[in-house]
Every structure is written in structure tokens, then in C-alpha cells.
Symmetry: C2
Subunit: 404 residues, 2 copies
């Protein structure tokens, strides 16, 4: 049989490693013939736009380079499939199944976040209704770490490693002048505070900063924020604040809407700038805000070896799950121990993950709502361990590119 | 005799390596007793706030760690000394020379940019007028690469390496969706386009992006910018633009002042956001802007080995220059050859560098004013070569911290 794989949602450092995991495991299995890559996620199946991956990933070196390349080599999409019982949408599923059958695809692997798991769930449901024996398997990925069931998501560890390394460098940068300053760092994560909270790992390196950590899972009040800043300013010359993009700055419609109207932030963003304005207005010292922006999700040059290795392993396990007949499942990590760090890879019914969010646990947030506990440090630390040796060319990292 | 060293201006990845160069060379020379670090640049001499560096840099490992640590370990300042002939300012020089004499300091090394060279020039002038035999030596550093005489400045190569690696990752990130997009990346450099222009090195890695490069040394018109974008959009799905913070966006007072009024960018900044608004308004596709912000000057985790080695070497040569009696000079690089890359370290009269800017050569800018020539690639490439093995701790880079 043939198989197909696609990538969906926002880029990460690890999503190509999971693709390599699927590909490499397929090569090991004589029952699998062609491995197709579907371009731009599910769009490739709808439009019958597939690539024979053996033609583009030709050597072991190609595989090694691809697993070190950020973003999605096959492209991505944000397509939401129609409800299976919506008659108007039936033709979409007709196109997808026609493409799968035409290419004798026996298993389809979708690497993505909670929206993508919705796609896997719908495809497996429609497949069963249509009497198809094609297997649909979800492979998780998101820097937001907001998928339920799984201990963590591939892509998160590398994002957290980049964020910690960068925040530590910003701490050094912020402490050079003899004047007081406040630096507000806005970190991604949508409605979940995982990535912002991960900056607590800097404690393991002896840093006292970030002095304040604000997550969407805790209540936020701008007056309390100003009090927190004043208290930290009394203790530290350079106050460092980590704030999640999902925090509602609650500082008056004028300031918040000023940000969104003028700058059209239609995605969650702008809280750092809003808090900068507020602090400058009310505290009166040097205040700056920094958005780590898309660099958080694609900085493969400082990816986590643990993350990349796990991302490849979970892709390989997905192939094994399909070959043993599983369908409508998503691969998940189960953690057996923090130290030594031990995880197993299992399957979970995709309906348990599709369209669901796992938020940062309230029990790890302090009572003041401006910091996280050492329990969180223990959870996070194993995920950023190890460095991947990056292939360099002319002093810059080399990236794999599709030449097909 | 004793010597003293201080750091000034904005942080870089290499400024501590130059300090290590001074320190290590001093240890090799039996005529030098104590090596003092002046806290917060020249402020430390004014306030008699010195640290005996042998007490805080205790081992070879400390030196190795410090040369891998970004920003300024002794702190920095933005102090401009009074004119030597200004009677009102004489007490400042009295304080400085009294501190130097009290600690029997025979040579003072100031690591900084063009403003800091102004300090070196004034101190050496006042010293000569007062009959002092203290030597004042400038050691260049700035990510802006805007110092005259010297081929390039320590700190620039590491910043350029970070910028290229990051822009390359943003290129990967931008190309995932099937819709058209424009990504505008704002890069530091004050009035000089060196760091922005350095993104041309991505050509050596086979990248066609950035498709447009705008520098403050070329004329900029917003109408021409929109035409350029339209032309590139016809050729590329994801258009990447590199723009220097020093470019005047020239897109109507409303838009520019909207940025500065609401967001109080008192430093050069905001051109990326202004151009984003303009492009979104007039081109009508997905447009985003990204500020690389302070990460450009402190990302030691991906510093250039060439840069760090040279920064240490130029610090060491400064000590040798002082010992052979030079005074009022700044250390400079002279490039003998691009390939193989050969530089020598020489001295230049500090007055040739103080308060002066070297801008990106117009001959390397294309006629359309939106790109740079391959001559620039040849100039830049040697400066980002090689990787420093970073000391890691708990999955994050280790930084040296003053414990005194």
C-alpha cells in the first residue's frame, strides 16, 4: 500500500522531524510502497496535489537536513472541513477520498494542532461511514503545548528553549545601564500560558528574572499589574516581565483599541505594547516592550534535541499504529517520570483532542497570579535538553528545500 | 603599573570578549599589576567605582565563559564628557584623573562606538594638557559597523550572523501558506545600513529573499516602495523585505506620527510598522512586520567565532599598543584580502573616529535603491564565519555574572 502525510497549522521547529519520522519508518516497512506528501495540508488531497517524497528526499543527508529545517516543507493550511453530516460539504469528502483511492493510499498522517485533529476525526468518521479501510492518524505539533491527553506537544520544547535562551540574553541586555528600566516581553501561546510560563526555567540557571509572569489562565488587572511593577522596581534595577499574548490587558478600551485600530492586530497580539504604554504613563521610568514574534516557532538554530528526537519518534510510531490497524487516533506522549525523564508514546481517540485546549494548570500559578511554581520548572526542564548539531553553510544554517 | 578598562554604548555579543582580551594580555605582562574594571563606563572613573577584575575573573573557565556572554559585564553608560576647554566641566576631568592617579592607573581602555571614541579623544587631550603620562586607548565595538577607518567593528559579525540566520528562518516561516503575503523585517543600525544590507549574504545559501533591501543611504519614496512590492509580488508568493530602522518611511505625517505619538518610539524605530500599514492599506494581502529588536545585539547563542576571536585579539593588541607608549589612538582592523580572509590590527588617531559615522557605500547599492551588489556579499561573508561552542547548563546557555 501507499501512504500520505501532510502538515497543518502554524510552523514549528519539529514538524519536519515528524514528517521524517513517518518517511523513515515507511522506508523500513516493505508493505509500504510510495510515501506521498500532500501539499498545503488537506488542500493537497482536495486538489490532488501530491508529491512522491522519495523523489525529493533522496538521501540520508536529506533526511538529516530536513529534520533540522524549521516550518513545514510541504506547506500548511488553515482549512476546516465541513461537518460530515452537512450535505453541502459532501463533495469535499468525495474529492478527498477519490484522491486517496486513486493513489491507493492506505493510511493518511496529519501533523498538526487541535484544529488539525478535527480534520483527522472527521476523515476517520466519514471513512468508516463509507466503508473505507483507510486509516487516519493524527500526529500532534504546536508550540502552544495546548493539546489535551498528551503530556506535551512536539515543537513546544524547541520554542521554549529559544524563548528561555532569548529572554536570558534580554536580561543581560537590560542590565547594562545604571538607570531603572522595565522590559516587557510578549510571548506566544494563544489562550494557553505554557510558553510564557516556560521562562521560569531560567531559575535553574540562577536567574531571578523574569520577575513577573502573566498568563491567560490567571486573572489580570492593570491596577494590580502596576502595583506588582512598583514592588519589583523597589527590588531590581531592571525589571523583566513575561506576558502571554493571550492576557487581556484590561487597561481601558482606549489603550487596547488604540493598539488594535491603528495596527490591525487581528491575531492575539499587542498586549506587550499596551502594557508598555500603561507602565510608561503611570510608573515613569525607561519602559520597552519586545515581541518575540514568529522567531518563537521557527528558530531551529537553537532547537531542543529532545524535542526533535521525540518529534521524529512520534512520527515513526504513527506509522506503526496505522500498520497494526488503528484509525481515528492521535499519537500522544505519556510521561512516566520527570527525572530521569521517561516518556512512552501511545494512541488516544482523536475526539479527545480535536478542537480542545489544555491550559496551563492553575495549581502551578502563585496566589498573586504573577508567577509560577517550581513544579512547573520540573515539568518543563526535560523538554529543552540537548542540542542538535546544526549543518552550517557559509556561516549560516543550511535548510532543506523542495526541488521537485 | 595598573590598568583600567570600561565598556560603553549599546550591548553587543563581542564587547566582553574584548574585555577578556585586555585582561588576558595584562596577565601575560609582568609590568602590569592590577586590572581594574570601571563600572558603567566612564561613570566608574567619575565616581571612583572600580572592581579589581582578578577578584571576579578567577579562572580560565571564567574567561572562556565571559567571552561567550553577551552585553557588558561591567555595565555601560551614555555619558558625553564636557568639552576640555569648558571651564564648567573641568571638575569632571579632575574627578577622573584623581581616580586614575589614586589607583596608579597607567593606561585606560575604553571599549565602545563613535560616542565612546569622543571620550577617549577628550581624555587623551586633557591628559596631555595636564602633563599626565596615562595612555588612553579606544577599542571599537558596535553592531552598527558605522565606525570609520576600521574595516569593520567587533560585534557586527555576530549581529549579522544572528540577523541572517533569523531572516532565513522567517523566510521558511513565511512560505507555508498558499496565500500571498508580505513580511517586512526591521533591522537595527541607526543611520547606517550595514546590518540590514548584511542579509544579502543569504544569497550564498541559495535564498532569493530578501527580495527588497532598503537602507538609509538610498533615497526612499513610499510610492516607489509600493511599486517595488507589486513587482516582487508578481514573482514571489511570499515577499520578504529587509528595511533599516534608519529609513525615513516618507508615507505621510499621519501614518508616521501615528506610530510615534501612540507608541512613543523616541529611538529610531517604527519604520517596519509604518510600512506594514501602508502596504496593507494599498496592496491588500496578508502583511506583517517583525522587529528583530535588541535580540540583534545580544544573541550570543549564535555568535560568529570570527567576531569573538577578533574582538578578543583587538583587546589584546590594545594593551600592547599602550605598553609601547601609544596614546589617544583607537585600534582598527585593516583587511588585506577577502578570500583568504586576512586582517591586521593597527592603530589610528582617535580623532579620525570620534563622533564620525561610516555609512554603507553607495557603490554597493543598486540603481533602483532597493538592493545591494555581490561586492557587499564578499565583504560581509568572512565576518560571520565559524561557531563558538556555547557552554550549556540545563539546556540553556550559561552566562558569566559578576559575583563581587
Amino acid at each position: 500500500m501507499n501512504i500520505a502525510v501532510a502538515q497543518s497549522g502554524g510552523p514549528t521547529c519539529a514538524i519536519n522531524a515528524s514528517l521524517v519520522g513517518v518517511f523513515r519508518e515507511a522506508l523500513r516497512n516493505p508493505v509500504i510502497d510510495a510515501v506521498f506528501g500532500s501539499k498545503n495540508g488537506i488542500e493537497g488531497l482536495i486538489k490532488d496535489d501530491l508529491t512522491d517524497l522519495r523523489r525529493v528526499i533522496r538521501t540520508n543527508e536529506d533526511m538529516e537536513l530536513l529534520r533540522r529545517t524549521p516550518s513545514t516543507v510541504l506547506g500548511s493550511c488553515r482549512v476546516k472541513l465541513p461537518a460530515p453530516d452537512d450535505a453541502d460539504g459532501a463533495h469535499i469528502f468525495d474529492q478527498i477520498f477519490s484522491c486517496l483511492e486513486k493513489h491507493r493510499i492506505g493510511a493518511f498522517f496529519y501533523i498538526g494542532g487541535n484544529d488539525s485533529m478535527d480534520t483527522v476525526e472527521k476523515l476517520s468518521r466519514v471513512g468508516k461511514e463509507r466503508g473505507s479501510d483507510i486509516r487516519f492518524i493524527g500526529i500532534p505539533k504546536t508550540i502552544d503545548n495546548d493539546l489535551p491527553v498528551t503530556d506535551h506537544t512536539p515543537g513546544f520544547g524547541s520554542a521554549a528553549k529559544y524563548v528561555c535562551a532569548t529572554v536570558q540574553e534580554i536580561i543581560r541586555d537590560s542590565s547594562v545601564y545604571s538607570i531603572d528600566s522595565i522590559t516587557i516581553i510578549e510571548i506566544m501561546g494563544r489562550n494557553a500560558g505554557w510558553l510564557t510560563a516556560s521562562t521560569c526555567m531560567l531559575r535553574a540557571n540562577g536567574e531571578t528574572a523574569p520577575h513577573l509572569i502573566y498568563l491567560p489562565e490567571a486573572d489580570f488587572s492593570s491596577e494590580k499589574f502596576l502595583e506588582d511593577l512598583a514592588a519589583e522596581k523597589a527590588k531590581h534595577k531592571a525589571v523583566i516581565v513575561a506576558v502571554s499574548e493571550g492576557v487581556d490587558p484590561d487597561c481601558g478600551d482606549d489603550m487596547r483599541s488604540g493598539v488594535s485600530d491603528n495596527f490591525g492586530h487581528k491575531y492575539l497580539s499587542g498586549v506587550g505594547k499596551a502594557l508598555e504604554l500603561l507602565a510608561r504613563d503611570r510608573i515613569g521610568c525607561k519602559v520597552r516592550s519586545i515581541e518575540l514574534n514568529v522567531m518563537q516557532r521557527c528558530s531551529s538554530h537553537i532547537c531542543s534535541k529532545t524535542d526533535i528526537d521525540e518529534a521524529e519518534a512520534i512520527g515513526a510510531e504513527a506509522v506503526k499504529a496505522a500498520l497494526r490497524g488503528e484509525n481515528g487516533v492521535t499519537m500522544v506522549f505519556r510521561r512516566l517520570s520527570d527525572s530521569p525523564y521517561v516518556v512512552t508514546i501511545e494512541t488516544a481517540d482523536t475526539s479527545m483532542l480535536a478542537n480542545k485546549e489544555k491550559r496551563f494548570p492553575k495549581r502551578w500559578i502563585n496566589r498573586a497570579g504573577n508567577g509560577v511554581s517550581d513544579e512547573a520548572v520540573k515539568y518543563f526542564l526535560p523538554l529543552i535538553q540537548g542540542e542538535v548539531d546544526i549543518f552550517m553553510n557559509n556561516g549560516m544554517p543550511r535548510h532543506f528545500k523542495l526541488t521537485d
